[in-house]
Symmetry: D2
């Protein structure tokens, strides 16, 4: 099979590094260019990625590859994976889409735009219908598909089967987020050691708004947002990778705990049906131990490491319509690099490329 | 002024160490005996407290003091501070009270007994009326007064003025608790580094039940529990000292955010009126910065280090009856050693000794 | 090929867990019994290994296996892997060897006995000649082969080619050791967070004595210890896995830095020649980056994860006979479980079983 | 007593914050201006010091003080405390000295200049004789006095009495340095959690060269450097404050361990004689416990918190001329802010101002 040529936009940060890790030996995609901001462009990758933080070394033949500008004429490929910072993603990704490129993006810039799909392949693949709307609206030859914020993605995936079966009324989520979510240099070691930082700039609205969009319905070429209430408190904790979320849920219909576990365990979607390379067999793993999930033990869970969410401590609240649970998903894999890769695989398998 | 002779029961653990730190130069109390379990009894204190974890050294003249048995005949004093493990506290504290001793206890064994006061001096000093009931019920010459669990104490103190002014309907609290709360040896470093443990044995029911008792009312020589709904998710995080709690609150009456801040800031109680030595000027400190409170920065806040709770991120939920906040209190000071000391000071100042 | 039946002695601790991880799908060995101390014997493995700390789950068919006593009649197999605590290893391992079992041990009890081989397969496989001496001396039908302390093993392996080529005169090693080296419960989280503990009970003499034995020569059925001077300072740091060691070396012959790198890179031994399953292609990986090796990035280095030592910062001291370097090896793999497995593979391949 | 007006240059970083903490209520000095780089100048201090990391809040009346440019005309005062980054310190400090200001500096820029004193008040106060040389050489009306690197300072202080009594031959020091030594943002949390970084840019030569200058002798208006051999390996560990150093020492004269302890314990200097406000009673605290010093327990040791070095594990090497020890000193107090303050106090007490 001929692989599709792809470029990586924003190749030096934590998500860019994970993209290289996931795409380097990908069965369908072939990295032909790696791009980053002016500060890095022109350097070899090994000099640009000075803060390489993965145990895997930089792949030998990328070490001396020259990082190019984030410009469609320089990073030429029919498919671009974007891990750009949001400040510049708006402009750069638009240029790529205009130039005919398909952009699968991890940046927040376009996520809440009305004509841009915000996709978790297991949850709302039908939202890809927005692609046509987007191309028409904007007159672009290419288009942009986004993935959710690293916290919203695990949450929305776990809420999906619960909402389908028991109708959500209220969700309160408290997060304990890993340091890698802030990128590099990110959170200073001096501020996070022996500490919790009870605030992450811009995070709470993202978690709330994106979740309602993802769980919304396609109607008349638009997304009708889900209509339950949701609030979030987002915290940073001294953990390398893996966001932990404790969730309090009120459902409209009574939710038996064993039934909830069952619908979570049985949850599957198109990636599993289509057997996408980065799709885990079980998107949601349910554990029964009273002290799981834990980020260090569960962040890499699943048949594709880091692509499953793990849920535990599923227990009743104070009546039959309230329940509590704890979930963990890997913020730079399922929550970022793996998400844009899975989105691209979905586009490919469904002939959107 | 003549100081009152006191004994410390359970002098070697983290709370026992803090008790020594707080009582060593106390203006009203004079340590005359230090007691611990069989494993330590008979040793000098420096040999018994092998895991001393405080920057302050063991006070010079206690280093070679012999640790005695936790028996009223050995640890003789009219007032005993108990930091005993709950497995043995039931029996031992009962023996001391029977023998005529006043026990101010940090153990959980008696907290939920109907005739035992569970006291935060700023919140429910009137519950001390249970002392007479207890002495009569049990035929004891002394009595036991308990302090709340290290998580419940900060929570109940912060909820008190909100309940008084806006009537609580529902409380969901998520905790991020410090390692010192588990004592010594406590949580293995191997399990907590780069990790969150989403479960603390026995903690969630304590937080829920104790809070409702503390905020309950004395009626006919009994406590009528507060009647709002409360659920908790308790987690351990890699922080030395200081429990962080994010709280989602639904009130029966509309709660304006600025009003909430005001009632928290102005909250005071008998310890402040009586000017007790361990009473901070402000039991609750309200901060306006978007990223405070943080355990490393705020755990020692207040005029008496570690005795104030700090609250921040007070913000609306999704309507005028819902609000969110984050609070921190020092789990081994206000949440343990400082709590039993403040209880003892209250007893003394109100002539219960 | 028929696999050899093996037992694991001390299956619940950190090294026991790693042994299960490494032996579970081993091409040559087949776990037939798992044994532990009285506290665990009789329980299922999942109930005995309550502090399981590896991301890999307990293998499904071992979860309900009953843990047996550490007795040759209960844990019957021709080959035993021992991760017993040293307090009981002396007696238990002796019993197994007496009963005809070959014991490959990670315990310290027999390491310094004159007739017991202390083996790093790449370094001193000829010391296996002591087996005959041991059997004769003790009248045992089986025998014991030991591996070195988790700190000595990386050090001795790296010193070996340097000693061979440049003759060691003096070695000063300073260690920064991971928490997992202390087992479970091991170092309390409360004592190691935001801290360095500058002392590890019994460690420094082990590092010094074992290194001299390993690098010693077989002469007349005895080991003649190496005769350079060596001192060690051992420290515990807040790292999960991977011991870091900075080494100051004085050689008798001038040691050119590039030559040192070359002999380290080219170092190989019998495991590589025999192509043992747990032998990494390169026992020693040399890195040129100024800030490597780092435990989190390099502990799993090599073709068999965790079995290579990584060396970096190789640089001159103050004259041509002094040099400095930093090395990392994985303390529970190459430094413990992987070491006893590699020893067993060597015994098997050389027909000692 | 009339206080001397002082300015702080570089007031926003970790050392600048500590300077504010130490000078805010200083008995001799009065902060009249706070200065920082262009990025901060013009802002109020609370907006400029966004990464305030100390438990103490910014002093109330400094919160809204405007940060000025690092220019002698803006930050006017007869005495300036500099915590400037070394890139700009060379130029800025020179300008201040030229303009008649006395600069007590923590920057590295001038430390190794021949006519600039590099002072630890207890060790080499006589090196202040270089002031006259400096003023004459450079035609400055003011002058610059520097303090050593945060690692060199604890080391040089501990080596001083050993050198005086037993003549140093060789010193090998291995450091485990705290995160705060890298300033802010400094070391990313993502890179230092569960890790050791075995390299600190520029640190090792500083430790070696500065130690030899500090322990050198004034001869003919010049410093004759001490002539022992010294090498260093510098590592970063996940510790907030407090550098730990393990030291291997070879002396020219036999060094009895008890004698070494004695000369360390009895070590005193001019700050103690002059009773300077920031001088601890004992510059060096010797501990006998086998597991001390530890950074979390000992960094704030002494009568002036953070101003004493603590030494432990003093033990023989392999002969009577070799010994080992472990020392800790607080890197942002004795190693930075406290050092420039103590230098200023010495200048004042000796009438150099």
């Amino acid at each position: 099979m001929k692989k599709i040529d792809v470029s990586i936009l924003g190749c030096t940060g934590t998500v860019g590094q994970r993209l290289i890790e996931m795409l380097y030996n990908h069965p369908w995609f072939n990295i032909v260019s790696i791009a980053a901001s002016e500060r890095s462009a022109g350097k070899t990758y090994k000099d640009a990625a000075v803060n390489w933080y993965l145990p895997m070394d930089i792949p030998e033949d990328l070490r001396d590859t020259t990082v190019v500008d984030t410009d469609p004429s320089e990073a030429e490929a029919p498919l671009a994976f974007s891990a750009l910072p949001s400040e510049i993603a708006k402009e750069v990704e638009g240029k790529f889409a205009e130039a005919g490129c398909v952009v699968t993006s991890n940046a927040s810039s376009y996520r809440m735009e009305k004509d841009v799909p915000l996709i978790i392949p297991e949850v709302n693949p039908d939202h890809l219908q927005l692609i046509d709307v987007q191309k028409e609206n904007r007159g672009w030859r290419g288009y942009i598909v986004t993935d959710p914020n690293c916290t919203a993605i695990g949450l929305a995936m776990v809420l999906k089967p619960i909402h389908d079966h028991f109708k959500l009324d209220t969700v309160y989520v408290n997060t304990m987020q890993a340091i890698s979510g802030a990128g590099l240099p990110g959170v200073p070691g001096l501020l996070i050691t022996d500490n919790v930082i009870p605030y992450i700039k811009g995070e709470e609205p993202k978690v709330m708004n994106e979740t309602l969009k993802i769980l919304g319905k396609m109607e008349d070429k638009q997304i009708k947002f889900a209509d339950f209430k949701i609030v979030a408190s987002c915290n940073r904790v001294p953990v390398i990778d893996g966001h932990t979320e404790t969730v309090f849920i009120r459902t409209k219909e009574p939710a038996d705990i064993e039934e909830v576990k069952k619908v979570l365990r049985e949850f599957k979607g198109e990636p599993q049906e289509l057997n996408l390379p980065s799709a885990p067999k079980q998107p949601i793993i349910v554990r029964e131990e009273e002290d799981r999930p834990q980020p260090r033990l569960d962040r890499m869970a699943g048949t594709v490491p880091g692509m499953s969410a793990t849920v535990g401590r599923i227990r009743p609240g104070f009546d039959e319509n309230t329940l509590l649970l704890t979930l963990i998903s890997h913020n730079t894999i399922r929550g970022a690099a793996g998400a844009v890769v899975l989105n691209a695989e979905l586009l490919y398998a469904k002939n959107y490329l």
